[in-house]
């Protein structure tokens, strides 16, 4: 009748043989589903925050828009608590899907520009937050998001004008006004998006959510000092990648801007360079993107190898400690290795019924 009423004392003795790895061997890399979760979460939340901002009317003082362009703290929380890479990949997509597509505000190539800029901003800022409890790092992170994103787009805007007015002072006053507006706009953005809706909420939210939100998604909270999953690797290769990505995002903007500015301020621009200019710039962008991606791959592999080496060292140390106790640990590890191999090989065998 009563099948299982083993006495308490033996409760914590496992009868079954342990399969696979032993807990404690911490894995730095995320599983596919964890990545997917972070991606989806970051996308949904940032999209939601954008919708809310979309509903709120944008106040502007004269030509200067004092509205908030985005809620920086949302992707920042995701990047700081989970993985910068996947949070950065998801957040700008959320903006595009939730607001731009939905609101009919989709602007073609400029969206790619926006995506790349936001991705870089969140990725770099998230990687700067090594300790989610550090206030300084959070503030820096929030400011970096806004600065990277806004400076990139300000540079794009300014260059548009600069290129356009190089030899044709067609529209008087416009270049200066654009420059002034960009600077004022940057200041307002840093204040509104970076501090009011960036650093301040993040200072409250990140520590409040740290240790609470991760278990809900089946993850272990980040501990300062541990390698961060999906962190921007600090290698020269990555810097190259970031630069190229920035250039590519310029490229997308310029693709429109060249034509646009030429149209506004230099009607014979196209005549001089011919339409092939656009084709050339497309090819150039594609090349730059490709190189950037290759660099990114390389830099990540380099970083992974580093991490992996660290892990291996840790493993060795652990194994040696364990060997002092018994030989079991090694046997387990060997077992787990076999099991892993088996799992990897096991094909999708089940046939349709």
């Amino acid at each position: 009748m009563t099948t299982q009423n083993s006495p308490r004392t033996t409760d914590d003795q496992r009868r079954g043989t342990l399969r696979g790895t032993v807990d404690g061997l911490r894995r730095v890399d995320l599983t596919t589903s964890q990545k997917l979760m972070i991606f989806v979460l970051s996308m949904s939340l940032f999209g939601l925050s954008n919708i809310i901002l979309e509903i709120i009317p944008d106040p502007s003082i004269g030509p200067v828009d004092v509205s908030v362009s985005y809620m920086v703290f949302v992707p920042l929380v995701m990047a700081a608590l989970f993985s910068p890479l996947w949070a950065a990949l998801g957040a700008p997509l959320g903006e595009i899907v939730f607001t731009d597509l939905l609101m009919g505000d989709f602007s073609g190539l400029a969206e790619v520009e926006g995506y790349l800029q936001m991705f870089l901003a969140v990725y770099i800022a998230g990687s700067l937050i090594r300790n989610p409890r550090s206030r300084v790092q959070i503030v820096i992170g929030a400011l970096v998001v806004v600065l990277v994103d806004k400076v990139l787009s300000a540079v794009v805007d300014l260059s548009k004008v600069w290129i356009g007015v190089e030899d044709a002072e067609f529209v008087e006053g416009l270049p200066e006004s654009v420059l002034a507006l960009e600077i004022i706009g940057l200041g307002v953005d840093v204040l509104m998006s970076g501090i009011l809706l960036g650093a301040i909420p993040a200072l409250w939210l990140i520590p409040a959510l740290h240790g609470k939100i991760e278990p809900l998604m089946g993850m272990r909270p980040r501990v300062p000092g541990e390698p961060i999953p999906g962190r921007a690797p600090r290698t020269p290769l990555f810097v190259g990648f970031a630069l190229l990505l920035a250039i590519a995002s310029f490229g997308f903007a310029f693709l429109e801007a060249f034509d646009l500015n030429a149209g506004e301020w230099e009607p014979d621009f196209l005549d001089r360079f011919g339409s092939w200019f656009i084709v050339v710039s497309v090819v150039a962008i594609a090349l730059v993107l490709l190189v950037a991606l290759i660099l990114f791959r390389l830099s990540r592999t380099a970083a992974d190898t580093e991490l992996h080496e660290a892990e291996v060292r840790e493993d060795v140390a652990r194994a040696e400690a364990d060997r002092a106790d018994s030989g079991r640990a090694e046997a387990d590890r060997a077992d787990s290795g076999r099991a892993e191999a088996d799992r990897a090989e096991s094909p999708y065998t089940r046939q349709q019924r």
Partner: protein, 274 residues
């Protein structure tokens, strides 16, 4: 001031508008087309204005944009935001350049720029309002976009009403439990400040709840073969088998192309430059 129920410009209205937009319940010409063809149409109309500085052409393309918005039955919210945005752009930029000593030429330059932007925006409104998320994500899949992007699009649209609902609930609850500011302050800035604070703090429960929901979603995706499907193409082929280019698609595309060519031709006949 007595409170009333508003049907327009309330949170609920915005939510409904979004739903209508997202699921193209208003119908319209492009909703009946093959999504890939709609994307092609969009590319055509989005690129066309960039190759000219001729105001005649731009005016005609702008007109084409207006016509497609009408045919696509774009809802008032999206349209309203667009018009306000366009107007604010023009006024803002004009004021700016005027402030720094611009003149009427500035306005003409701005008019050209805004005609271009307007034409492109209207094309995108017409296209994406007509594509429901399934069609859009299928079109993206068919065009070999990453699986994650296609899924993100479809999932984003599905979660949107739920997220907005949840946010509104949390926000309401917060309002009930927080004391209203004792004095409104100049222009009611205390009230505005409190609303802003609440809008941000509402994210705390929202983030936790969404995290939990996302976990279930991703688990369910896993059990239903999402990652398996991403690695095996047979599912993709099956899913996209229904996409067919019909006479309507060809007709709409051809008509639009002809209009664009016509616009350029007319522009050539009666050029109107600054």
């Amino acid at each position: 001031m007595a409170r009333k129920t508003h049907d327009v410009l309330s949170v609920d209205w915005v939510r409904l508008e979004l739903l209508r937009t997202a699921y193209s319940t208003r119908g319209g010409l492009f909703a009946r087309m093959d999504p890939r063809m709609v994307l092609a149409w969009y590319v055509l109309l989005a690129l066309a204005p960039w190759f000219t500085h001729n105001l005649t052409v731009l005016l005609m393309l702008f007109g084409l944009g207006v016509a497609s918005v009408a045919l696509a039955r774009v809802g008032p919210l999206v349209l309203g935001l667009f018009v306000i945005g366009l107007g604010a752009d023009v006024v803002g930029l004009f004021l700016a350049s005027f402030l720094f000593g611009g003149n009427l030429d500035t306005l003409v330059a701005l008019a050209e720029l805004n005609l271009k932007l307007g034409a492109v925006s209207m094309a995108s409104m017409a296209a994406f309002v007509s594509l429901d998320p399934e069609k859009l994500s299928d079109a993206l899949l068919a065009l070999r976009a990453p699986e994650l992007l296609a899924f993100g699009v479809s999932y984003g649209y599905r979660m949107l009403p739920i997220l907005v609902d949840e946010y509104v609930t949390v926000f309401e609850g917060q309002r009930l439990r927080h004391a209203p500011p004792p004095h409104r302050g100049i222009l009611g800035w205390r009230v505005i400040l409190q609303w802003c604070t609440l809008a941000v703090t509402a994210f705390y429960p929202i983030m936790l709840n969404t995290a939990k929901n996302v976990r279930t979603t991703v688990e369910a995706l896993e059990t239903r073969g999402f990652t398996y499907g991403a690695a095996n193409t047979s599912g993709r082929t099956l899913r996209l088998a229904y996409l067919r280019v019909t006479a309507l698609d060809v007709a709409v595309l051809a008509a639009s192309a002809l209009t664009v060519i016509g616009a350029y031709w007319v522009g050539g006949q009666y050029p109107l430059h600054r």
